[in-house]
Symmetry: C2
Subunit: 140 residues, 2 copies
Amino acid sequence: MVSALKYKYRNIGFKLTPQRIAILDYLEGNTGHPSAEDIYNAVAKKFPTMSLATVYTTMGALREKGNVLELKVDPDKKRYDPNTAKHNHVICISCKRIFDIPAAGSIDLPDSLTGVFSVLESYVEVRGLCLECQTVNAKK
Amino acid sequence: MVSALKYKYRNIGFKLTPQRIAILDYLEGNTGHPSAEDIYNAVAKKFPTMSLATVYTTMGALREKGNVLELKVDPDKKRYDPNTAKHNHVICISCKRIFDIPAAGSIDLPDSLTGVFSVLESYVEVRGLCLECQTVNAKK
DNA sequence: GCCTAATTTATAACCATTATAACTTAATAA
DNA sequence: TTATTAAGTTATAATGGTTATAAATTAGGC
């Protein structure tokens, strides 16, 4: 992790520990939408004392600071995305890989909710089968 | 439950037990998006031997037959919707009530996924605060 | 009414996530 | 540099929704 980034995190009140730096390094540019366990497994290789609880608390802190998204598109477990730019996701229900798709247009609330329900976040959820899993299923 | 409905369910291979009829009666016209526990509590009042497991297996069977939707908009638990017409949902993150909204337009996949990723289901997820919960929060 | 596969039930198991509490440490200031 | 302390780490237990198990019961076709 470069020194400039360290200042950034300290300035937002995010204390940098070796464990956190290892997690941040793993997330840097990561487009695989990893789960907590994925992160744990990756970081534990080079940091054997890592605990799963640390992953959860660190990701929770990063989320609060707005540095990571917590995806809900996988019904089985939380998935994290360091790309916080507005975009949506499709998940393959077979291999559970998640792909990025562009952000959709604005959501239309019905008249009965317009100006009444205050929207905090909205996004599109898409489930389907990726090419590889379609092929595998076809062979069966 | 009316007799015509009984034939309908038998014809699709859905064996009608007293427990299932009680669940179906509770779901009939229900717009409250109940959880498994909600269903259990409601049915157990008039059917004390009801088991939570029965609710889950029954709802799973109804879902397979396409007679109920399993909503994922509440990250804490499954919520069920007997209205299978295409529509979306908004959830109040405070009181956890779910409101219906009209179906959104079609989802645009990026070129890299068009014709490759086969979409099985897609919908919009919206989280926010309902009027009542906004008011309560403002008072604090 | 019989038969059988399906359903119900209580209970245990599962698994992702969170809570707990003792120990350790990063970051600040003297 | 060192002391201070609030914050982070860790192992472990607890939580809670959901699923699996296996024995007892039953709906629906014959």
